[in-house]
Subunit: 358 residues, 2 copies
């Protein structure tokens, strides 16, 4: 039974890092006889340049047909000036998330022992850090309506967005979070602003309700301002955190940065059947695009997550993760994670080292 | 000409820390012949317990009449169970901010050299840290309408809030931010999510427009997820940051925690005429309330900010800040900032040491 992977390199460093992840996927495909078929598509600025839209219908139908999607990154200054906001690269990404109902975003923040020094935090605060942030990805203020900019009676303009969640949206992301916690240390912290925002009062209520189905999981609640603080102060207090789209955007980036090596962090965006899109946590880094110096490991680890979550190929996923750990042990480092005494390698050398380690 | 200060101790550790700040205020009042008159009022849970509302009309009219307000903190588990959300302590605080139009919230995040070790970040990342976060405090999603929880046609509930800003709201906080930057290192970073939220597209546009009046200030823009990341990675890149109510809540707490000593950080909330309310950045800490161990320095430094910003008594403000620095040099520490070799003191001892240093 062949499995169909859609590969979307996107913009900036996207194509370079995806090239290396594809090499790794091809290697495990052969080695573990996975029967993967890879096909390419356009999204973001790359799609706009060819088709005049960041999410062409062709890409969307390929995405619907695929068993899983591997994405590089989207966006760059080249398209920031586009007057029509609907044509910007980010809209391609948001359209994929929403169109495929990829509501469950898993963002691990793991400190690799080999890279412990890279963190801006003291070693004792972050050593062994392993948090999973579960972010709702297809609702909340990202997609809420009404939204826009209108002219008021006095001639002034007013901008507005709507932060909205209904019970079923909250319930399904809560389940993803509790299930994730069950596979880990059974601690779930739900982040809200229930002392101010009604939408998160409902969020908290539903989390408590769903929690009754998971008596083994220790559920706690934290206001988002305190959560941002606690991530800086003592991040190891957390196991799994769950929150809405906007708070999740902010907290997952803060958590990722605690490790000091955002070039290492993968992510998964899953629908209700665990079909998913996989992408590095970092962005398209237009400033270093085309130089062959970007770190491909987050994308390679995203491919591993894809094998684990959507394709149920656990052995192949384990093999990739072990190979990444091995190249780090060998002292190979791209510029972003390089430190004195280590060997600085290019994007391609890093990708090939992982292939070799496999 | 006498100046009228309203003192609102509030809940939790509020009364203890405010007591010490009042001692300090009385001392400078005499020493510098400031002509301050202090009067007390109730807010938060303390007001609810007496009047059945967190913001009695009496407090509100005293607040309107005052030249400045010194607040401790509000909130605690005792009132969390109140069914009617309008009666919770936080609503007292939000009502004061909004009722007095205290839209300009200044939150400095300063690392005291004497407390450099308290940070969870590496010394080289935070030494000398001195950021000012300017947070819009009376608009945005905190106060936007419509808001609530409604029942949908299918019987499910939906929670919703509105993130809204008009041009004049943005313009006036932008001016506060640019003016603050002019008094500092002339660098202003405006934080938004203009790649997703229309309301922040308008925010960015107005910031650029107001920036033209301040050609000396270097204005930059950053997405909120990246800002959270950059605060963890390299906070010293920032001088002044300006953002809306919700993002400001999150980022100012993260920034405060970078210093490791949130018990040291004051804040000011100003109206258009620089009348203001002054409070510590930390909360009411109900877990340690009544034990006499809370750190009064953030409240004492809030009193100093009050003298500087609302009462134009710069010499008295300087004197308080110098006195705080002196007690730190003497090695006096409350529990929250204590480290080996230092002398652990109570709330009262700390307050009296500052008075003595004056
Ligand atoms: C590019 C942007 C729209 C996106 C988001 O805000 O979700 C990104 O920051 C992310 O976290 O994947
Ligand atoms: C207590 C709460 C309503 C308040 C806020 O969210 O503004 C607090 O977190 C703050 O930052 O002053």
């Amino acid at each position: 039974m062949s499995k169909n992977i859609l590969v979307l390199p996107g913009d900036g460093i996207g194509p370079e890092i995806v090239t290396e992840a594809v090499k790794v996927l091809n290697t495990v495909n052969e080695k573990f006889n996975l029967g993967l078929t890879l096909e390419n598509g356009l999204v973001g600025g790359a799609a706009y340049d060819v088709h005049g839209t960041p999410l062409p219908e062709e890409t969307m139908s390929k995405a619907r047909a695929a068993d899983a999607i591997l994405l590089g990154a989207v966006g760059g200054p080249k398209w920031d000036a586009l007057e029509d906001r609907e044509l910007r690269p980010e809209k391609g990404l948001l359209g994929l998330r929403s169109g495929l109902e990829l509501f469950g975003n898993l963002r691990p923040a793991i400190l690799y022992p080999q890279l412990a020094d890279a963190s801006s935090l003291k070693p004792e605060v972050v050593s062994g850090l392993d948090i999973l942030i579960v972010r709702e990805l297809t609702g909340g203020i990202y997609f809420g309506k009404p939204r826009g900019i209108r002219v008021l009676e006095n001639g002034e303009r007013e901008g507005y967005n709507t932060y909205v969640y209904n019970e079923s949206e909250i319930r399904r992301i809560a389940r993803v979070a509790f299930e994730s916690a069950m596979k880990r240390n059974k601690k779930l912290c739900s982040v809200d602003k229930a002392n101010v925002l009604e939408v998160t009062v409902l969020w908290r209520e539903i989390l408590i309700e769903v929690g009754k189905e998971y008596p083994e999981v220790e559920l706690s609640h934290m206001y988002v301002d305190n959560a941002a603080m606690q991530l800086v102060r003592a991040p190891k207090q957390f196991d799994v955190m769950v929150t809405g789209n906007m708070f999740g955007d902010i907290l997952s980036d803060a958590a990722a940065m605690l490790t000091g090596s955002i070039g290492m962090l993968p992510s998964a965006s899953l629908d209700k059947d665990n079909k998913g899109m996989y992408e590095p946590c970092h962005g398209s880094a237009p400033d270093i695009a085309g130089q062959g110096i970007a770190n491909p490991l987050a994308t390679i680890l995203s491919a591993a997550m894809m094998l684990r979550y959507s394709l149920n190929e656990v052995a192949a996923a384990d093999a990739i993760e072990a190979a990444v750990s091995k190249v780090l042990d060998q002292g190979l480092r791209t510029g972003d994670i390089w430190s004195a005494g280590m060997e600085k390698v290019s994007t391609e050398q890093m990708g090939e080292a992982v292939v070799a380690a496999l």
